[in-house]
């Protein structure tokens, strides 16, 4: 998937090719994973991912999940239209390192802030890195709501996760 990301960055691959690659990767992992030792399958961290409450657009979220999985992270994909309390519960139960929030609509973007507030209320905000992304989301918006990072593309989200999770575990 690193190579897929590289091809995406240099405009040789676009969304259809990334989706096909992601499906191939998942199929391959199903075959390979059972034959690997525990050491060989050790993840780089756990990432909870989902589209925020009210948002059902999941192509971007699926691409980020696939790219992260391909880069060695364990993905807890909550799907679409995820309420803040479900993000909180999953992060707590799985001791996740990061949460990636996706929104395609300007009307659902504010839900990202609600998730961050729910993390604060649950007392776990400092234990998890929050990444945000989606077509209307901007770096400035990410800063405004107190997210740790903004990924403009699925590839950027992988680099961001890598640096955020590494800095938190260093």
């Amino acid at each position: 998937m690193d190579e897929v990301g590289r091809l995406f960055e240099c405009h040789e691959y676009f969304v259809p090719e990334m989706l096909i690659a992601a499906r191939a990767m998942r199929a391959a992992l199903e075959v390979v994973q059972s034959r690997l030792t525990k050491a060989q399958t050790e993840s780089k961290g756990k990432v909870v991912i989902g589209t925020v409450k009210g948002d059902l657009h999941d192509i971007g979220k699926n691409l980020v999940a696939a790219m992260l999985q391909g880069s060695g992270y364990e993905i807890l994909d909550l799907g679409t239209d995820v309420p803040p309390e479900k993000f909180v519960k999953t992060i707590e139960e799985n001791k996740a390192n990061a949460v990636a929030l996706s929104a395609l609509l300007t009307t659902t973007m504010p839900e990202m802030k609600n998730v961050i507030e729910a993390l604060v209320k649950a007392g776990i905000r400092d234990r998890v890195k929050v990444l945000v992304g989606g077509a209307p989301v901007t770096e400035e918006f990410a800063k405004q709501i107190g997210a740790d990072g903004y990924g403009e593309t699925a590839v950027a989200a992988v680099g961001l996760t890598r640096s955020l999770v590494a800095s938190a575990t260093a």
Partner: protein
């Protein structure tokens, strides 16, 4: 020069003829209902609500068009795609119409006046024309690729585009004459222009765009033009990698989203095509200030040359501050 009506202004601007001020055809939908405290579900199902809310928004902040569009699944719903209707946001489909290739042969597309949601748009166009014939009325159809994404499901259709392009062509072969029929009914109802929504075409590479999407776009646009009205092509997102090919679609007006330089777009589309755009609707309109909106409007006018129509790169966000929208609706020269 004499003051033009909104309709005259749009038609003159589109052809690069002199205008009394820059035409503005910002796409307002949910913004109208938010301002008036109405439900977006009603806006999309009841033409009376759509027309009333656009009229009231127009009275407060005049622009140069009414748009009889609200969401992307109107035709697909009339073909049998179940929708969930949240009270105050866009409806969304449940499932798909084409699970396997054989389903294409089983699809049934009602005549435009027989489909509840298609006929609602037709009635909205008739009402606009009756109440305000001085304002341009934009009808709308989905582009064949956008419609295929809905019929097949976005993820599967994106994969099909590369792995099974013949399946996509077969599906779009079914869609094309039906979208043409819907466009024709809208023109007969009084639409001055047809908006072709090809929202996700920017997400694909040049080869599938040219080989599979463009021929259908071109055919749909040509058919609309043969009805005697202009076609406006709207592709969301960054089209830089396919811009020369988009120019081959032959649209009279091309919406340019904010990621694309208007200066570069003018070089590609030349002096015959009307460009429409293009500042960032989120960072500028939703999140910035009236002064910044004015600054961006002036930049767009400066960079685009003519023919040109002013609008944000995509829909006016529903929660746009009124002062920012007012700044967009000011008179620009």
């Amino acid at each position: 020069m004499r003051s033009l009506t909104s309709r005259e202004r749009v038609m003159a601007a589109m052809c690069g003829e002199p205008v009394d001020r820059v035409a503005n055809t910002s796409l307002v939908k949910q913004f109208c209902t938010r301002q008036l405290g109405l439900k977006f579900r009603d806006y999309n199902r009841d033409p009376q609500v759509l027309v009333e809310s656009q009229l009231q928004t127009y009275e407060r902040w005049p622009i140069d068009c009414f748009t009889a569009l609200g969401f992307a699944y109107r035709e697909a719903s009339d073909c049998g795609l179940p929708l969930v209707w949240p009270e105050d946001t866009v409806p969304h489909p449940v499932g798909v119409l084409v699970n396997e290739r054989a389903d294409i042969g089983r699809l049934r597309w009602p005549a435009p006046w027989d489909g509840p949601l298609m006929s609602a748009r037709l009635r909205a166009i008739q009402m606009f024309k009756k109440l305000r014939p001085d304002v341009a009325v934009f009808g709308a159809v989905e582009g064949c690729f956008a419609q295929a994404l809905t019929f097949r499901g976005m993820q599967q259709a994106m994969e099909d585009l590369v792995l099974e392009p013949d399946l996509m062509r077969e599906l779009m072969d079914f869609i094309l004459p039906n979208e043409i029929a819907f466009a024709k009914a809208q023109v007969e109802a009084g639409a001055d222009l047809i908006f072709v929504g090809e929202s996700a075409a920017s997400l694909v590479g040049r080869r599938p765009y040219v080989d599979t999407i463009l021929p259908f776009e071109r055919a749909l646009i040509r058919a609309i033009q043969q009805m005697g009205v202009p076609a406006k092509l709207h592709i969301c997102g960054n089209i830089s990698h396919i811009m020369h090919d988009v120019a081959m679609a032959g649209a009279d007006i091309v919406d340019i989203d904010w990621m694309v330089s208007l200066t570069e777009a003018r070089k590609v589309f030349g002096p015959q095509v009307c460009l429409c755009g293009n500042f960032d609707p989120v960072a500028i309109l939703l999140q910035s200030t009236p002064e910044k909106v004015r600054e961006e409007c002036r930049r767009c006018i400066r960079e685009a040359g003519t023919p040109f129509i002013l609008a944000p790169g995509c829909e006016v966000p529903p929660d746009t501050p009124a002062a920012n929208y007012a700044a967009l609706c000011e008179t620009y020269h």
